[in-house]
Subunit: 339 residues, 2 copies
C-alpha cells in the first residue's frame, strides 16, 4: 500500500473492464447454472429461468460485493440479478432485461438495498415492466442500524442482512406462494433483521485508484457502510469481546430480544478479514447471547456481502419464529452459496 493507502497490485487487465471481465469469468465457470441475458452483459439469470408458475425474485446493485448480489442467483434464492459498475447502480434497462427473463407468469419481486440510485432505476424498470404486463412488487432492505435512527428507518442503508431477505423470499416463492404473499413474508422477515458493521481498512476501486476512506493506523470506524460510507464513531480498536458487544447491543435492543428468544446470526467478513478472525467474533457473539439465554438456531460465518478487499466485519441478527425457521432451513444452492 502506498502513502495514499492505495494498493493496485490487483488481478486486472484494464480497470475499466474490471466488471465485465470478472462477469465473463463467472459465466465461463458456472455456465451450468448461470446465464447471461442476450443483449445485456450485466443481466444474469438462472439457467432454467423462467420457472413457470413461481414468483421470481430479482435483485441487483453495484459490483464489488460478491457474493452479493449475483452470487445468490440459483435454486432457493434469487432468479436473476443485474450489476452496475463498482459501487454504482445498475441501469433500469438491465433490470428490465432480468425481469423479462425471469417472469414465469406469477410476477416478480424486486429485492435490493435501500440506496437512492438503485431505487430510482428499479422503480423505472418496474414501470416499464408493468407496461409490458409483468407484475412487479418491491421490497427494499434497510437493515443497517447505524445509518439512520429507528424513527427514520426508511432512510437506512441495506447491507449484509439482505442475505436473510433472499433466503426467506426464495424459500417462500418455492412453496408456490403468490406475489403478495412473498412480498409480505419477506417484509415481515426483514422487520426482524438488524445489522451493524465496523471497518478496519479501506478498499481501492480499480477505476479510480483511490481508497474508499482514510483511517488512522490504530483506529476503526463503527457503523461503516459497505461502500465505505461514514459510520457513527471513530475509535481505537478493542478486544474481540468489546467490538462484538458494541455491535450487538443496538441490534438486540432494537429487536427487543429477551430470554428464550431464538435468532439466526450472520458474522459477515467485508473482504480481507480472515475466516479465522470471524470465528473469534462468532465465539463472542455466541457467548454474549448465551449469557442472556438467547438461542442461536443457525449461524452463518463468512463473506456474504463484501466491499472488495476492505477489512472489517458486520453482525446481523434475525429474530426467528417457526415460519421463518422453516424457510431458513430450506435447501438453497448457487455457485457461490450452498445451504
Amino acid at each position: 500500500m502506498n502513502e495514499a493507502g492505495v494498493c493496485m497490485k490487483k488481478i486486472l487487465n484494464d480497470a475499466h473492464q474490471f466488471v465485465d471481465e470478472s462477469l465473463d469469468g463467472i459465466l465461463l465457470a458456472h455456465s451450468d447454472v448461470l446465464h447471461r441475458v442476450e443483449g445485456d452483459p450485466r443481466a444474469i439469470v438462472r439457467q432454467d429461468a423462467p420457472v413457470q408458475g413461481k414468483v421470481a425474485i430479482a435483485t441487483g446493485g453495484g459490483y464489488g460485493h460478491l457474493p452479493t448480489f449475483l452470487g445468490y442467483v440459483g435454486q432457493g434464492l434469487v432468479d436473476g440479478a443485474c450489476v452496475g459498475n463498482v459501487f454504482s447502480s445498475p441501469s433500469a434497462d438491465a433490470m428490465l432485461a432480468v425481469t423479462r427473463a425471469i417472469d414465469g407468469g406469477s410476477g416478480v419481486l424486486y429485492l435490493y438495498g435501500n440506496y437512492f440510485g438503485d431505487s430510482m432505476n428499479f422503480d423505472l424498470a418496474a414501470e416499464m415492466a408493468a407496461d409490458e404486463g409483468i407484475q412487479v412488487e418491491t421490497v427494499r432492505v434497510a437493515d443497517d442500524v447505524a445509518s439512520a435512527s429507528l424513527a427514520e428507518r426508511q432512510k437506512r442503508r441495506g447491507v449484509a442482512g439482505i442475505f436473510y431477505g433472499y433466503k426467506i423470499a426464495g424459500a417462500c416463492a418455492d412453496t408456490g406462494a403468490s406475489l403478495a404473499e412473498v412480498k409480505e413474508t419477506t417484509e415481515l422477515a426483514l422487520n426482524n433483521v438488524r445489522t451493524m458493521g465496523m471497518g478496519f481498512s479501506p478498499c481501492t476501486i480499480p477505476a479510480s485508484g483511490k481508497p474508499t476512506f482514510d483511517i488512522a493506523e490504530d483506529e476503526i470506524e463503527i457503523g461503516i457502510g459497505i461502500h465505505g460510507e461514514p459510520g457513527i464513531a471513530r475509535q481505537k480498536t478493542g478486544t474481540a469481546k468489546e467490538l462484538v458487544a458494541q455491535l450487538l447491543t443496538p441490534l438486540v435492543e432494537e429487536l427487543e430480544l429477551s430470554a428464550e428468544d431464538e435468532v439466526s446470526v450472520l458474522v459477515n467478513g467485508m473482504g480481507s478479514t480472515p475466516l479465522e478472525e470471524l470465528y473469534i467474533a462468532y465465539r463472542e457473539v455466541h457467548q454474549w447471547l448465551f449469557d442472556k439465554k438467547i438461542h442461536v438456531d443457525r449461524p452463518f460465518v463468512g463473506a456474504y456481502a463484501t466491499s472488495l478487499e476492505m477489512a472489517g466485519f458486520s453482525l446481523s441478527i434475525f429474530k426467528l419464529n417457526d415460519s421463518f425457521k422453516k424457510y431458513l432451513h430450506a435447501p438453497a444452492r448457487t455457485p457461490f452459496v450452498k445451504l
Copy 2:
C-alpha cells in the same frame, strides 16, 4: 498498515489465544457436524466418527489456512484434522487423538502437506497408532512446482492442490475401497496435480506481530509458498493475462497437457484477494486453455487454502481421467465447503 507492514487491527482478544478461540467459534457454530476429541482441543473430527468399515482420512497442519485443513472435515472429504499454532505443525499427540477417534476398523490415511515438522509428527503418530493396532498409511502432498525441480519432486511443498487430494481420497473411501486402494488412488491423482502461486502482500501472524515477508510497493513474488516462503522471482506486477500465463505455463508443461485433454482448475485466493479478481483470473485461465483445446471439466474459484490476510493467488491444474472425474463429481459437504 504501519511502516513495518504490520496491521494489528484484528478481531482478537489475546494473540496467544488466537487459535483456540477461533476453534471455539468453529465448534460452537458447527456442533451439528464437528466434534472436538475429548482431552485434545486441537483435534477435530466428524460428529459421526468413526464411520464403521470405511477407510478414514486424517489431515492437519498449522493454523491460518482456512478452509484448509479443518474446513474439509465432513462428508465425502476428510474424517478428522488436527491443527497447530499459526503456520506451525500440530503435535503427534493431537494426530494420534484424531486417529483413534476416526478409525472405523479399516485403517486411516494420513494426507497432509509435505513439510518437515508435519512429517516428523505425523510419522510419530503413525508409529504410536500402529502400536495400538490401527493401520495407517501416508500420502504427502507436494504440488508446488516452484518449490523444487521435477527431479527433486519429493522435496516440494504442499499447497492448494491438497484440495484435490481430499476430494479424491474422500470419494474413493466412500466407495468402500480398502486402505491400500484409497492410498494408491490418491497418489495417482496427486501425480496429476500441479500448483503455482504468487504473492502481492504479506499477512501478519498475531502472536509475532510481524509480516511474513517484505515486498516493494510495485512488486509481486512468483512461486511464493502459503507461509510466505520465498518463491522463484520478484518482478513488477503485470496484467491478469500475463500473470495467469506465467503460472499456467510450468503446470501445463509438467503435466504434458495437449489438445483434447481434460482438466479441473482451482483458482485459489490466498486471503484478501477479492473473488471479483479471482474470476478475472479464471477468465484468463479458461481462454488460455481453450486456445490450446484443453477442456475444463470442473473449475473451482475461491478461497481454498489461505494464508490469513495475505494477498495473492495460486492456480492448480488436475489432469483428469474418467475415474478421477467420477470421484471429483461425487457429493461432499462440510460446514466450509459444499460441492
